[in-house]
Amino acid sequence: MTGNTTTVRHNHIDLALHQLQSGSGRPLLLLHGLGERSPDQIPTDVRGWAGPVFALDFTGHGASTLPRAGGYTAEILMADVDAALAHIGPSTVVGRGLGAYIALLISGGRPELVHGAVLTDGGGMAGGSTEPTSITVLTSLGRDTTPDPYALLELGRDLRPPDYASEYAAVAVAGSLAHPAITVTAQFRPSWLEAVVATRGVATAASTAAALAAYAES
């Protein structure tokens, strides 16, 4: 990892927040996909951003704490991002896959701190079912390195009902200072993301670079 890494505390988890670029203006926060970690360098599709660029390792991923005995939920990862936003202030957020879903949640959870969320393709985009499924209970998966197998298991199958996702989108649209509050660039759109796209006030864009260019000007 190049650049500076700061530790941000979320409950008993130490989260690794990497600064990939310095600069003035509104920060950009990158959220990785399922089983990934923050990139070492600024990805090509966000290179045009003039302000500081940060990337967060979620709980159980990258250089963040590996918790014992699992218990992951998308909502806990939303709180990871909230801890990062408390540190860097209002930001534009770009999420890949699982990170796109988390970007959606935090844009509804903290609309005053998320100045535009860009939802892009990446690992863990689909999530689990939209309805309850028979639960496979697996034990003894623990490892001593990230990514945590429990994170892969639990975050790869978390329930994502479309109306739950669209509620967050509606709250983000109502409360965000950015217009649009959410921009979807992902090509793969599982039902939760289709519901987000269908929410009034949510935009689509041909590329992440195009979405960010619009947010940079607003």
């Binding site: 505390r9 979320h10 409950n11 008993h12 988890i13 709980t59 704490t65 918790p67 014992r68 005995a69 699992g70 218990g71 992951y72 939920t73 909502e75 806990i76 939303m78 709180a79 909230d82 801890a83 408390a86 949640l105 509804g108 959870g109 903290r110 609309p111 309805e131 309850p132 028979s134 639960i135 496979t136 209970v137 697996l138 034990t139 003894s140 998966l141 623990g142 639990e154 978390d158 329930l159 994502r160 009902p161 739950y164 509620e167 967050y168 509606a170 709250v171 109502a174 409360g175």
Partner: protein, 307 residues
Amino acid sequence: MTVADPSTFPGAVAPTRQYRIDSDGLGIAVHEWGDEQHPVLMLGHGGLDFAQTFNGFAPLLAAGGWRVVSWDQRGHGDSEHAFLYSIDADLRDIVNVFEHVAGRNAVPVIGHSKSGVMMINLAESNAFRFSKLVNIDGMPWARPAPDVNEHERSDALAADVKLWLDHRRRTAVRERRPGTIDELAARRNVMNPRLSRDWMRYLVSVGASEHPDGWRWKLDPSLKFGGFGPWRPEWARQKLAGLSVPFLGLLVEHADPLGWGTQPEHIEPWLPRDGHVVRIEGTGHFPHIERPEFVAAMLLDFLGAPA
């Protein structure tokens, strides 16, 4: 007026055996009542409760010839506080307790409230672990306010999420609020308004620990009543319909802050084959605490001779 000794309560008996098992690196406290050679009967507590809330009820089941096994959910009672909490993780801890005391043998199971919901889920996918299932007021059927419009629902979600995120920002340094035994008992009475203050004081003596600045509940301070998420209460009924073991559901007459307000007509269409539901009159969400002898007799009859 004489104030009762908080470390005792009529009919309450501390567990015969207490120990911890390792659940994938996390210590889960197990509490047992009755002869170790007797057949196992699993007994799961509700959210924000702990196994020793059964100190009045479990001995009555043990007297019926069962080895009653309960456990503290992660972050509750004497179990370790975890980094993370979820129903998936609770189910994993439960399976580890099952494996420890019963291996792969089918045993009867009683679940109250949150444990009742979890046991329906587990019995649906792990039927081989269950010989009979009793659910005590753990059969949610609908959202608390299903008829609000979309705008109101979004406002409620926004408020809930903000409160929860604010709470998460404080949990790194938060401790349970200290107080006297009476203060802790009074706080808990808000959630359990139908239970006596003496019972609450007794619960403090087994569910809290004493520190230089007062008593604190052992419950992980990062855990919070209420919440939000993608899960829908009505989903519990869908799995109930598919259960393959004899099922007895107990519902209650009076609404309680921790209950779901479910009545028999909400559940009867979803009962599985060999399932029935009974409403316990004159009680709230904790019928096994309000009328322990009556409920124990009913359950012992349903369970049959220990085997």
